[in-house]
């Protein structure tokens, strides 16, 4: 049975489609990301600070919201082209962010030495700078590839039969869920292979400099560069914002009570998921921050595995788990919250670990020497210092859960719709105007914790 499913032409077909899409989107993102990062950090592009901030924002747009607005503007842009365009436009910041950070931190002296040894600025860029940003670009590229492999929203809206959509169709089509499960495992194997490959290709870590790098005048390339970045911003941010606005204005207000109820469901389910995830992440994160050894390495590995675990596979695994082992929990809110915990635990553990590492161990030593026991020290010193970072982790899990689509589709209790599932259902039947309010509220729900958190963290710094 397993072997039959594996060697079916359809399995190979799905794998080829998914990998082709992943390779194409990753290549496009690396190109856009490296170019964008260089323009923002190293060139004299007018308004490059503002452009730098704006170019990161597409990350906040869920792929299915972007897909929905594009479909609204060009209903026939489905299939590979549509999926490629949408996924590239929402995920190029995964490359731009780390590359820009590396370019900022890279020691400009290395490039200057290359110039002093007789290279032109172009040669110096190719032979020195490009090597410095390679680790960041491959790491970012890996995130993009994993994102594309596990994306369900964009490919399902664009009706591109990728692996995730294949799994979902197979899951829906028959009562026998084994084929779906096998496909899910293949997807995980693909993701792990990518992760391992990236670690090999990463190369040496770039050195850190202290000076800010010099700016390169763009000269005649200035106008094309400006037009290019404007176009990129227009496509990746302008289209979703404009599309949503247009549909909202044209919209038939389809039952405001529904919208309110759906919003409440989303907040409740995502909130429960965030709470459960943080409670589970606390002990692991504290241990990982304070002790070295196999556990810490295990946690690091788990965080990679978490990135590589597609929502659809986790959803499927929990459907099996629920149906076979704990039927009482199947299709309950608790089960869905648990799915979010499985998916986003690595995210939360990372946040807790970083937060606890912010409270130096020497402070714990001082507290102990002043007569406080281990527990009192954790409570009085470490936790107050780590609280902002832990809250940040909780907010991150909350907004990621609110946006999650495939696992939510499979595991939500009957009759409970979240903003994401409702948006997906409405877009499936091309009810774009009816879908628009859900998309708008979803963006707001996801944005509120982000904004509050940003303010809170900045307040703490002062």
């Amino acid at each position: 049975m397993v072997w039959e499913v594996l060697v079916r032409p359809r399995t190979l077909d799905l794998a080829v489609r998914s990998l082709t899409l992943a390779v194409a989107v990753t290549a496009a993102c690396v190109l856009l990301g490296v170019l964008g990062a260089w323009l923002v950090v190293r060139s004299d592009l007018p308004g490059r600070r503002a452009v730098g901030v704006l170019l990161v924002l597409p990350l906040a747009v869920p792929s299915y919201v972007a897909g929905f607005t594009w479909l609204g503007l060009a209903p026939r842009m489905t299939g590979f082209v549509g999926a490629f365009l949408v996924l590239t436009l929402v995920s190029f910041p995964y490359v731009l962010l780390p590359v820009a950070a590396t370019l900022r931190a890279a020691d400009p002296a290395v490039e200057e030495v290359a110039r002093a040894l007789g290279r032109t600025s172009g040669q110096a860029f190719l032979s020195v700078t490009l090597r410095q940003i390679r680790p960041a670009a491959t790491a970012g590229g890996l995130l993009v590839a994993l994102y594309v492999l596990s994306d369900f929203g964009a490919v399902s809206l664009m009706r591109f039969e990728a692996f995730t959509l294949g799994i979902y169709t197979s899951y829906r089509a028959t009562f026998d869920r084994t084929p779906a499960a096998i496909l899910g495992c293949v997807l995980v194997v693909l993701a792990i292979a990518l992760t391992v490959g990236e670690r090999r290709a990463r190369g040496t870590v770039a050195t850190r400099g202290r000076r800010t790098p010099t700016t390169v005048p763009l000269g005649r390339a200035r106008v094309p560069a400006l037009l290019g970045t404007t176009a990129l911003l227009g496509l990746s941010l302008g289209v979703p914002v404009f599309g949503l606005g247009w549909w909202l204005a044209a919209g038939s207000s389809s039952g405001d009570g529904d919208l309110l109820m759906t919003t409440w469901h989303t907040v409740a389910v995502a909130g429960l998921g965030a709470l459960l995830t943080i409670v589970l992440a606390l002990p692991v994160g504290v241990l990982a921050a304070r002790y070295r050894g196999p556990l810490v390495r295990g946690v690091e590995l788990a965080s990679f595995a978490g990135h590589a675990l597609p929502g659809i596979t986790v959803g499927l695994a929990l459907v099996f788990f629920g149906v076979r082992l704990v039927p009482g929990l199947y299709q309950t809110t608790a089960m869905l919250a648990f799915a979010y915990a499985v998916l986003f635990l690595p995210l939360a553990v990372g946040a807790v670990r970083t937060a606890v590492a912010h409270a130096p161990p020497v402070l714990e030593d001082v507290a102990r020497s002043l007569g406080r026991g281990r527990a009192a020290t954790q409570f009085l010193v470490t936790m107050p210092l780590a609280a902002p970072g832990i809250l940040a982790g909780a907010a991150l899990v909350f907004l990621t859960s609110a946006k999650e689509l495939p696992a939510t589709l499979m595991l939500r209790p009957t009759g409970v719709d979240t903003l994401a599932t409702e948006l997906w259902t409405k877009t499936e039947v091309a009810a774009y105007a009816a879908a628009a309010p859900y998309a708008a509220v979803l963006l707001v729900v996801a944005a509120i914790p982000a904004v509050l958190l940003d303010r809170f963290l900045r307040g703490g710094e002062r």
Partner: protein, 344 residues
Amino acid sequence: MTFLDVKGLVAGYGSEPVLCGVDLAVPEGGLLAVLGPSGCGKTTLLRVLAGFHPVRDGQVVLADRLLAGGSVHVPPERRGIGIVPQEGALFPHLTVAGNVGFGLPRHGRRNGRVDELLDLVGLSGYGARMPAQLSGGQQQRVALARALAPRPGVVLMDEPFSSLDASLRDELRVDVRAALRAFGATAVLVTHDQGEALGVADAVAVLRNGVVAQLGAPQQVYTDPADLGVALFVGEAVTFDAVARDGVAETPLGRLPVHGRASGAGTVLVRPEQLLVGDHGEVAGVVATVDDVLFHGHDATVLLRLANGTRMRSRVQGVLPAQPGDEVAVRVSGTALFFPERRS
């Protein structure tokens, strides 16, 4: 009477111990400086005393109470030993008063004890500030007040002055000593700075390769070091291989009287302040060439070269007429140290 008593202390991280049999004794109210180069085990020693690191052998006794040794390991919170880490390590989320009162029981925070302590370290009225609003020196003062608040048996200080600039350092040293005296507190300070150890402590322990090479009063360690290594570590010096006969050694600086009535081959050691420099004729001595003069304001260091190529430093008070390239006369005042050659 010995108050803090450390005997045969062995501790470490891997298979090689960092401390291999440390003996220390500090009287009540005393201030001991543990002096050693980086990596000699100073910080490990502090961590063992405070209870953050286990002992493998030997024991730590404070006021006749066994804190560590054998199967005994009293946890840090029950040792009554305060610590002042490098750069203070104040709790960033608490006010200055919150920091100082951290180790006090709840009722103890309101009876003026916190104000009294802040007063003592010269920071009255700073209670409501946050640590980030204080300078480095002020943070160190708060850290000391915090450590002293619960009346610990001993206060341990880990290079408390190393992060401060020179002028602030002297001022803080004087104040810290005054605060410790006012409380009758016993303290152990570790440092790699010779000036700091000799200048601030009642007693100095020179830690080398995990054992105490010498324990004594600062003056004793400087003027009567246990061996050549200690002598070279606690201050600048010029050394010559020489043969002594009945307390007199033949050196490139002439015949010098040496400590004790030493005889045989060994090393003669002269401190820079013992080298008197003057014009020919004015000072009867050996001729040397001035290589360079480093002027410090209050005094100057003169780099000298003897005819045989030996280079040395002399510390000279006041105005010196010599210029690089000049020839001067050099004489040694007082007796030189002599370390007989070790026969293996």
